[in-house]
Symmetry: C2
Subunit: 417 residues, 2 copies
């Protein structure tokens, strides 16, 4: 696609930021309500567009997992509509006074929440991201540019049309939600250089997307990167809790970034607790890869290579290692952490405190499942993803994390001496 | 310089982050106190190294302004030491619990401040940045990599040696403060790609430095970019305040980023207030560039070109424009703002509120000088600079802004259903 078309789109987005920043909460919620209605009214035409993507996907030989992510039906479209309605109930962060104080010279100073401006969301095959991301950006006063994957092109375009229709019926600026009408790589590379128009890129996707963005982006990026999440079962753990947490972290939904990938077990537990746990995991269909100690006490355990310790399986596979107590666990995690989620199970508070203090991943869990590192679960409301970038927002990003603050300074003629 | 040497330095920095994050406040303050002492004890040897830089600078034909920025003497070294002592009194942000809440399932959730990790500071000729930046990064638990300009190389190296000596006497890991022992461009380009080792780049410098970083950085950057600061004098202003604020904003220290660059005056004031103000400014040595209206009512006023509206003069030069009330002022600022500082002088609260609401620069001033957009003046304590990047920290960056937060989740065996 011509660069001028892409530039024009980005400029329209920037132009619309003033309108977006000045929307009232009522306007935002009316838009969300209408969009949910329109989604429900248009189920059959959404499904028809989605069928085009599915047919093309099958022809291209997409895996059944990918086709499943892509697929939209009654139930999923209703879930999208419901997600919009849930965002209505979240507080509007724009205009919040985060802090307020006075200076000795009488100046009043406030830090006030404002939108970031224009946010470019780059994502892969899930069409629900189109609706979720647009709604979260909208509610936080931002203009969104949506650039989905080629597999979901028809579905995404249809969904954006519905969102734009909701803008129209509310007599709002249609440029506040932008859709990139192409999925060619060159256009994306160019878009990622438009630093004067775009304030932030949020990519959601796999390693090759992340690498591509690292290479081409000239704009701030908040990465939603992989989670090689660790669970350390300490010698002083409550073993019933440990088993429950381990199984939940690995098995409840293995395909997501806060699922467990590496289990570390205190050597004190290697002959008692560990073999039983390994058997249970295998009974639940988990493939195990272990170090020598683990291979000794378990059956049918493949050797874990150095690559395993570094891998986000996103599948029913778990790497397992016996470590020398807390120290050994910390050493391993410091070496292989992806800064996503680390958990400890222990009844010893001093050990838990050290684990919490020394590890600076986005979420540290004590006696709780790794699966709780999630905006909804932690009480942030809906989330746009889980940031593994330390800057700006580390961990789950809700509406507040899609804003920044400005200083407002109110004087009575003060000057600097 | 060999890439392996640069990589080694960055890896040492990353290795040291654990030590830095776990320093006690007492250790940090003892280091700062000792460093201040050592600076005072070493004045003559610092001056001797600085003389080498000054001599080379003169030979290279640096401007007198640049030589002045570079120059260190008794007074300036004492000021550096005093700055270190002031940082002792600032609260340590690491470990602060920013927020704390409980979930319906009993999970306790906290957001706890943690250091960012490794911060690369890229700066130009002022050697005091070496000491200020190292101290602020240290107090906020970060490891710093200092990469100063070639003009100040000997001065910077000497100052870093003194800081490292203070680390040594306190028996602290010397790798927590890193100095890039070369100023060649290729090494810097390489350093800016080391995303696994470095968490953040903070550049402080002019447009060519900013451009170079935009082109080469593969790591998050918080830009401390130019301030094209605006002051709008409204028809309903208290004119005594307006005059005082305008003069202070432009003249008190014209070479800094929060100094006024463009004055916008309501057309209602163009025949009364404006001509007198123009004469006063000229009397203070300010060169004026104006639109046609301004040229009509003043004397010796050069025409302002489109470039002027976009220029950070950093000098006793001011561009002046007559605008159609608040609307005209907002239009101009929306078009030319650098997102740094905008000020309004008016007694009309509704107009001030609109100005504050519609402009999303890092600081918005009502009846106060633009010069107050400064960490010290706004009560943040010392600042590492003024961010014009909306992400993470917008406006003055103090110690808190050099940290991020992690989620700490404390359970009693909770799992996700």
């Amino acid at each position: 696609m011509e660069q001028t078309v892409i530039l024009q789109l980005a400029r329209q987005a920037k132009q619309a930021t003033l309108d977006a920043a000045n929307l009232t909460t009522q306007q935002k919620n009316a838009f969300l309500k209408k969009a949910a209605e329109l989604l429900r009214e248009n189920i059959s035409s959404i499904v028809a567009e989605n069928q085009k993507d599915l047919a093309a996907g099958k022809q291209k030989g997409l895996s059944s997992a990918m086709l499943d992510r892509l697929m939209l039906d009654d139930k999923r479209i209703n879930e999208m509509a419901k997600a919009l309605e849930e965002i209505i109930h979240l507080p509007d962060p724009v205009g919040d006074v985060v802090k307020e104080w006075a200076r000795p010279n009488g100046l009043k100073v406030k830090r006030v929440r404002i939108p970031l401006g224009v946010i470019l969301i780059i994502y892969e095959s899930r069409p629900n991201v189109t609706v979720d991301a647009a709604a979260l950006c909208f509610k936080s006063g931002n203009v969104v540019i949506l650039r989905g994957g080629s597999e979901a092109y028809h579905s995404n375009q249809k969904l954006v049309n519905i969102l734009k229709q909701s803008l129209q019926t509310q007599k709002l600026n249609p440029d506040m939600i932008q859709f990139v009408p192409t999925t060619d790589r060159e256009s994306l590379y160019y878009l990622m250089t438009l630093a004067s128009e775009i304030d932030l890129i949020i990519p959601r996707g796999g390693p090759s997307l992340m690498q591509m963005i690292r290479e081409h982006a000239k704009i701030p990026v908040i990465r939603h990167d992989k989670g090689v999440c660790h669970l350390y079962v300490d010698g002083e753990a409550d073993l019933a809790k440990a088993e429950k947490i381990c199984i939940n972290s690995k098995v409840q939904r293995p395909g997501v970034c806060n699922a467990l990938e590496t289990l570390l077990v205190d050597e004190k537990l290697k002959d008692s607790f560990l073999p039983k746990l390994l058997t249970k995991l295998q009974g639940l269909g988990v493939e195990l890869r272990g170090d020598q100690e683990v291979q000794k006490v378990g059956k049918n355990i493949k050797p874990a290579t150095d690559t395993d310790w570094d891998t986000e399986y996103l599948d029913l596979i778990l790497s397992v290692k016996v470590v020398k107590g807390l120290e050994g666990a910390l050493d391993h995690i410091h070496r292989y952490s992806s800064l996503h989620t680390e958990a400890i199970v222990t009844e010893n508070k001093a050990k838990a405190d050290r684990f919490i203090r020394e590890l600076n991943s986005s979420a540290i869990m004590w006696n709780a499942s790794t699966r709780f590192n999630d905006g909804g679960q932690l009480g942030l409301g809906a989330e746009i993803g889980i940031s593994t970038t330390k800057l700006h927002a580390f961990g789950p990003m809700g509406l507040e994390e899609l804003t920044t603050t400005k200083f407002v300074v109110i004087g009575e003629g003060q000057i600097r001496e």
